[in-house]
């Protein structure tokens, strides 16, 4: 039975062996988990958000649990683009899995510079433009809440690279469609959605915020309904493939994202808890395809729109 279903997916210009990606920031640079969760399990590895210069990140505590989710305020700790290229990329390349570099900056200039350099780098298969990081003071999410600044970043990046471009959207907006449209109009090949919702938690005994950064990004199952809704909206309105993420923990969750319109899904928070999740998710997707007589994941993409009648947002 197994050989009958095709788990490979097309994601704009990319062709992936399976529809699972790693969500940026939850899988480091691909080698940290070792055999617990090797890069080869994924259709592509999206690395931690990378900035032009090294960043030491936010003061601890950086993590706080909340009902159904996790708050993080890592603050884009990373060794900078040079550090990534020198330390991490060579090791990751050995796994022969497509590598997508998540780039983040304070200024449009930062994005352009990084994209221009990465355009030349072999072993980098695509760029994910992170205009949605809620944990840095300037830039980050500020770009992603406005169509004009989104357009500015994507335009700058598109000019300097022919590599496939994913643009990662924030859920902290009233409507993701205009922003998605701006990104695609300026040449984004793929939309990644969603990044985290801005949240916070207060320690009632100490009477102060739990996170060193005060606010953090909410991820995990708690945000899944928001992710599904935004993917649903953008799929209807914008002609670009979508990588869905936000609380995917099981095959059922992944299927929900495909049916809403995602061509692939990324696993984030779940990896921190269950590094074995990708195997289970893939098995479950396979089992579903067989049971319902689908031949490929592609057949599922957006399928729920057909059965949805006229209504809805």
């Amino acid at each position: 039975m197994r050989s009958e279903v095709d788990l490979s997916v097309k994601l704009g210009p990319l062709r992936l062996a399976n529809p699972l990606l790693t969500a940026s920031g939850c899988y480091g640079y691909g080698t940290e988990f070792g055999d617990l969760c090797p890069p080869g399990l994924f259709g592509a590895v999206v690395v931690k958000g990378t900035t032009p210069e090294p960043r030491s990140g936010n003061p601890p505590p950086r993590l706080a649990e909340v009902a159904g989710g996790l708050l993080n305020a890592i603050g884009l700790e990373n060794p900078g683009l040079d550090g990534f290229l020198k330390l991490h990329l060579p090791r990751l390349r050995r796994y022969q899995v497509p590598v997508i570099v998540n780039i983040a900056g304070h200024r449009v200039e930062d994005y352009r510079e990084m994209a221009a350099r990465l355009d030349q780098v072999e072993g980098v298969d695509a760029l994910e433009v992170n205009i949605s990081c809620p944990n840095v003071r300037q830039g980050g999410m500020a770009f992603g809440v406005d169509p004009a600044s989104t357009a500015a970043v994507v335009r700058a990046v598109r000019r300097v690279t022919t590599k496939p471009l994913l643009v990662k959207l924030t859920p902290n907006v009233a409507d993701p469609v205009p922003i998605a449209r701006a990104a695609v109009d300026e040449g984004a090949d793929v939309l990644s959605m969603i990044n985290t919702l801005v949240g916070m938690r207060i320690d009632v005994e100490r009477r102060r915020p739990v996170l060193g950064n005060i606010t953090g990004g909410l991820s995990g199952p708690a945000i899944r309904p928001v992710a599904v809704r935004m993917i649903w909206q953008v799929y209807r309105a914008v002609p670009a493939p979508i990588v869905g993420m936000g609380g995917v923990t099981s095959a059922e969750d992944a299927l929900e994202f495909f049916l809403a319109g995602a061509s692939a899904v990324a696993l984030g928070t779940v990896l921190l808890r269950d590094p074995g999740a990708p195997v289970q998710v893939l098995d479950g997707i396979r089992e579903y395809l067989v049971r319902h007589r689908f031949r490929s994941v592609g057949e599922l993409v957006g399928l729920a729109h057909r059965n949805a009648g006229g209504g809805g947002t």
Binding site: G57, P60, P61, R62, L63, E65, I74, L272, R273
Partner: protein, 249 residues
């Protein structure tokens, strides 16, 4: 697995995990799933308090402080625990000579396998609020280490902080190294004492962990040189005392 409550709210749990027992070294830890649904979301880190490759077992000594440990403390013998390990770097090779192991509360867990390894080179000092909370003392004694205790209420041994006991003993003797595990305040104190006496010192830190393997950058502790952060899970949990600033979890 087997489990018993060895002091009020303190549990000793032995798990059959041959592969883990074979590969683990003192100072390393495991990430344990503590709950069935989505609460708690993350795994909980616990020091490997016994590493027994011969029996294919590892042991944990934990204190119930919140929902995760409460759940774990209610597991019944025979039930399966889902754990990932060994993780972290463990203790580095220590200088020859006597090593003083200084534990605050359940911090003793991380030091037990080290005491075992050091044998007669180890001398242990163990602090707690009161004598009934001196969990791990018997296990320490079994390793052959000389054990002294301190209790804040004076109900056993030295009356006061374990770091005061250390300072008192340092008047008399100089170990080759100090190794500490316990609350941030105690480790901060120990670092200062070690610096004052110029004794090499290592401390095992705690933090709220995410991945446990260095991927998520969630478990940062500040470097003493002001130069950013180190990760408890992958750079530690054991650090040279001069390297990091212990922060409360």
């Amino acid at each position: 697995m087997k489990r018993c409550e060895i002091a009020p709210g303190h549990h000793w749990m032995v798990v059959s995990a041959p592969e883990l027992a074979r590969r683990a070294r003192p100072g390393q830890f495991a990430q344990v799933r503590c709950g069935e649904g989505w609460w708690p979301l993350m795994r909980r880190p616990f020091s490997l308090a016994r590493i027994d490759p011969a029996r294919g077992q590892v042991g944990f000594l934990f204190r119930v402080v919140g929902d995760g440990t409460r759940w774990l403390g209610a597991r019944q013998p025979g039930q399966v625990v889902d754990l990932i390990g060994p993780l972290g770097k463990g203790f580095p090779p220590l200088p020859p000579g006597t090593v003083w192991l200084v534990a605050g509360g359940v911090g003793v867990a991380a030091l037990l396998p080290l005491a075992e390894q050091l044998g007669s080179r180890a001398r242990a000092m163990l602090g707690a609020r009161t004598h009934s909370l001196l969990a791990g003392r018997d296990e320490l004694i079994q390793t052959g280490a000389v054990v002294e205790v301190a209790t804040e209420d004076g109900s056993a041994g030295w009356r006061g902080q374990v770091t005061e006991l250390v300072q008192a003993r340092l008047q008399e003797e100089r170990p080759a190294a100090l190794v500490g595990c316990g609350p941030a305040g105690m480790l901060q104190e120990l670092r200062l004492v070690a610096a004052r006496y110029r004794i090499p010192c290592w401390i095992s830190l705690e933090a709220r962990l995410g991945c446990g393997v260095g991927a998520c950058r969630g478990c940062a502790v500040p470097r003493s040189d002001g130069n950013g952060y180190l990760m408890v899970c992958s750079d530690g949990p054991v650090f040279a005392a001069g390297e990091v600033i212990p922060v409360e979890v």
